[in-house]
Amino acid sequence: MTDVHEHELHAYVDGTLPEARRLEVEAWLAAHPADAARVQDWIGQNQSLHAAFDSVLNEPLPLNLVRATRRPALPVPFKAMAATLAMLVTGLIGYAIGLGSPGQGPAPVYLARDAAIAHAVFSPEARHPVEVDAAHADHLVAWLSKRVGTQLQAPDFSAQGFELLGGRLLTGETGPVAQFMYQDKIERRVTLYVRRAVADNKETTFRHATENGVDVFYWIDGDFGYALSGQIGRQAIQKLADAAYAQLVTR
């Protein structure tokens, strides 16, 4: 085995080594406890950074920032005024990015809309669409289950041609939200969004909504709301939703 360089230890931590070299570095680490301890600490640092800051990803977006993505630079007095506006509630993000109007309709409509927004924000990410990848599926499900507060299950869509990419934890109005992401062979993505339902939600059968081109099938089961989102055509997403429903709904 050739010697392992410092930069390769970092590349090991950051997952950028070719597979063959990764295995060699692993063998090196097994024989060099001091290096292994450093590497372990560095991995812990990355995890701590994600634990400390990933919640920012799902914070409601401040109105002035949403506007700043859309308009020419604002004159300074307006900017100062905009900066004093209250943080935008989740509903207004939907409004700002064109996903229907907030403040109307029964609570499950929010479920569909919030799921569609989360889909729109995270599914285009090429390199890291998920926090925890499918290679760690057991950890993923256990972790998300604990945070969301129910025993979750990532449905199996392999019969429909979609594989689990992984998942992430979001925050929503009713507490933590789990998002599972799936991808097919031509890299189309669908997301399953699961969160605690608001108190007065009635159980529903399937409902369908289209939010800014994103098809969402959603339902409430017990204390939890589920929404499957994608832009793969209504029929295709419905097939997936049928499969999810069959696998997830409490027996």
């Binding site: 400390a52 990803l57 993505t69």
Partner: protein, 165 residues
Amino acid sequence: MRTRPDLIEHLPRLRRYARALTGDINRADDLVQDTLERALAKLDLWQPGSDLRAWLFTLMHNLFVNQIRIKRPQETVMEEALDEPVSGGQMEALAARDIHAALARLPEEQREVLLLVGLEQFGYAEAAQVLGVPTGTVMSRLSRARERMRQMLAGEPAVKLKLVI
């Protein structure tokens, strides 16, 4: 008129990076706002097809560096405090105060690299592009940053989180 790319999908990550970089929600969102305004003003300079995210982070880096340059005199005191010997007890207290305190004590250039690579998952070459430095410089800053964090967080169990990567 060509279609303008939608910047909104990049907002959550720009905010995350800015928050970690500045350690302050208001300062972070001001930085994001300045970045977006500059991006819209300079959008014609962005090459369609190239990585919009990397370009946005580059703009943010440039703005951040300018801010530091202006603020530098006020921050000298903190930098000096860094090099004071720290007793074991204080180390533990720092570990308990978590990663925020340690990050704030890192020199900015090391903090940027640690965050771009460790949090935002940029490749080394991409991070080098964002920061406008050679990849070798990214590697040496990353190495120093991680060792420094390791010293500051010493005593804390390396993995106490349920997250896996």
